[in-house]
């Protein structure tokens, strides 16, 4: 049953991905300026530009360009980056690995922190702790990456020099895991805090809702310890919305880390996307957006499968 469900969902994702790729393709057409001209520079003759446009396939009608791109993409060929002259697929595989490291780092912070803060706030409802953290999460959920990320850099990299300002590895050092970890801390915290705040708020509200249910009152009347009542009976029932909101944040984190990757010069997908847009590198932008869209679809699917497994009513 589950396998069938997953298969159906994957088939359902195809139109979504087609739509995304089409929108990105059309959006790139709106960018002013001619790529061939930009790449060849101001000294190129009109003839060379035409020739180069033909070489890139830019002289064909738009639908044909799109279908050609799509056909090749289906075969794993996302084209060539105009600016680095590298196959986009190879470039993205590297970038994806780096983004995954950042994503993992920020999840390790965001999910436990969000759940812990939300739980404590729900249990200590209306206490000073609750009021202060809920005020703080409201700010943290909406703080711009530029402000927060650069604030962290100024504090922890410039002032106290605990962590490096930018990059993934120290080029002068020997590299290794510890070096990577040191570079990971600040960008991971920067990307983790807003999702952690959103998760905390969600955990608090669903926990409060669950705690008011009659089966919680019944569990207390049965003399079960408060720990069991809140952490097992209530949290278990509050999980589905928590999984959903966490999944949404995980989805955002891959592509949404654009600014963080830019600030910290973290060579991930977001950074590739940002640079691709600046240099009108259509193939890179299309590839990166496609990767992010696929990621979103997969995370959403995983969320739905987890929630299906969590709900005995859905299992029939």
């Amino acid at each position: 049953m589950l396998a069938g469900y997953v298969a159906r969902r994957l088939v359902g994702a195809i139109p979504v991905l087609l739509g995304v790729s089409l929108v990105v393709f059309l959006a790139m057409q709106l960018v002013p300026g001619d790529i061939a001209k930009a790449l060849l520079g101001p000294l190129a003759t009109q003839e060379t530009v035409e020739e180069f446009r033909h070489y890139l396939g830019l002289d064909r009608p738009l639908p044909e360009q799109y279908v050609n791109w799509l056909w090749r993409a289906l075969h794993g060929d996302l084209g060539r980056s105009f600016s680095s002259n590298m196959p986009v697929t190879d470039l993205l595989v590297d970038r994806l690995r780096n983004s995954a490291i950042l994503l993992a780092g920020s999840l390790v912070i965001a999910i436990p922190l969000g759940i812990a803060v939300g739980l404590i706030s729900a249990i200590r409802r209306d206490t000073p702790f609750d009021r202060v953290t809920m005020g703080a999460t409201l700010i943290a959920a909406n703080i711009p990456t530029f402000v927060f990320g650069l604030g962290l850099v100024i504090l922890f990299a410039v002032q106290v020099k605990w962590f490096p300002v930018q990059g993934m590895v120290d080029l002068r050092g020997e590299g290794g895991r510890f070096d990577l970890l040191k570079h990971l801390v600040l960008p991971a915290v920067t990307t983790a805090i807003p999702p952690a705040a959103i998760i905390a708020r969600m955990v608090r509200s669903t926990m409060l809702e669950t705690m008011s249910q009659e089966y919680i009152k019944a569990a207390r009347a049965n003399g079960l310890p408060e720990r069991t009542v809140t952490l097992r009976y209530a949290l278990r029932n509050a999980l589905p919305p928590i999984v959903t909101i966490s999944g949404l944040q995980i989805g955002f984190l891959l592509g949404g880390a654009v600014f963080t990757e830019y600030i910290f010069a973290w060579p991930g997908v977001g950074d590739a996307l940002y640079k691709g847009i600046l240099s009108r590198d259509i193939a890179v932008v299309q590839g990166a957006v496609l990767v992010v869209a696929v990621w979103f679809v997969l995370v959403n699917l995983a969320v739905d499968v987890i929630n299906l497994a969590l709900d005995p009513r859905a299992r029939g």
């Binding site: 089966y215 009152k217 019944a218 569990a219 029932n237």
Partner: protein, 303 residues
């Protein structure tokens, strides 16, 4: 009918009353309100419950009957607190207990059955898991021993195909089955006192009768007592030995159930009895409590 000599120790339902198990006196519960004086939900309530008997608390919604039960469990909704009074259970003053000691009482010595069987079982856990959780905690049984006892308990409350039900989730059971499970859970640690808060209100009439029969069997244990909360005088008459009539947080009348039913002293009790529809009333407007006592007991006349 029994003779006069035999009738003495027996209650109205033919049960034998033992020593006093629960003694509530002067119980007053208030709820904090914003920019208003606190709301007095239970006002100077006192009654006794003897082992072997069933004491009914009857009254309309908001009369304070459920709050009285919650106060005995010391599980008042947030904002509510016991302002004064004493609750003595089996010689122990409950209000003096520390929270941890009180928690050990709940489920183990005083068990509670809630009104709505559809919402008082945890939807995420199997019946077996929920039943054994309680026994593992209170009786220090291991899972297997607890499961064996859960099986016996479910059989004793008349549940068929016990093993299948133990593995089932609450949504897979009917309302009547769930209420039986809840009753079996309440009995699992052999409590002295069972508080049943409208245990049949959410059930349809035939299931209601079955559950009442089951509670009747449970009440037959001379060591046990039941506090039975209901708004339904018919059910109270069927189940209880004594009855406490509550109105707006206060006790207006108390006594053996047969006496209160046949010769109600208080106008509110008469009104409540008068509000029960009877055959032959067809076509007439049904009486409400306000119709009948509006003149004698104006609604604002509480304090």
């Amino acid at each position: 009918m029994t003779t006069g000599e035999l009738r003495e120790p027996l209650t109205d339902q033919g049960r034998t009353a033992g020593d006093v198990l629960l003694d509530v006196s002067g119980l007053t519960v208030e709820f904090e309100r914003r920019r208003q004086p606190p709301l007095r939900a239970v006002d100077d309530v006192g009654f006794r419950v003897r082992r072997g008997t069933v004491v009914g608390i009857v009254g309309e919604s908001g009369s304070g009957k459920s709050m009285t039960a919650n106060a005995i469990m010391r599980l008042l909704p947030s904002g509510g607190r016991i302002v004064s009074g004493e609750i003595t259970f089996g010689g122990t003053p409950l209000l003096g207990l520390r929270e941890e000691a009180m928690r050990q009482m709940r489920g183990k010595r005083i068990a509670m059955i809630f009104q709505n069987p559809m919402t008082s079982l945890n939807p995420a856990f199997t019946i077996g898991r929920q039943m054994t959780d309680m026994m593992v905690h209170h009786e220090r049984l291991d899972r297997d021993a607890a499961m064996t006892r859960a099986r016996e308990l479910l059989q004793s409350v008349g549940i068929p195909a016990v093993d299948r039900q133990l593995a089932a989730y609450p949504h897979q059971l009917s309302g009547g089955m769930r209420q039986r499970v809840i009753i079996a859970m309440a009995l699992s640690c052999r409590p002295d006192l069972l508080i049943a808060d409208e245990p049949t209100t959410a059930l349809d009439v035939t299931i209601q009768a079955q559950i009442l029969e089951l509670l009747d069997e449970i009440a037959a244990d001379p060591a046990r007592a039941i506090v039975f909360i209901s708004h339904d005088f018919g059910v109270i008459a069927r189940m209880c030995d004594e009855v406490v009539v509550m109105y707006r947080g206060k006790i207006v009348e108390t006594g053996p159930v047969a006496r209160v039913l046949s010769e109600p002293e208080h106008p509110y009790t008469r009104a409540l009895l008068g509000a029960i529809p009877r055959p032959g009333q067809r076509g007439q407007r049904l009486a409400t409590v306000e119709d009948q006592i509006g003149a004698t007991q104006p609604l604002g006349a509480r304090r």
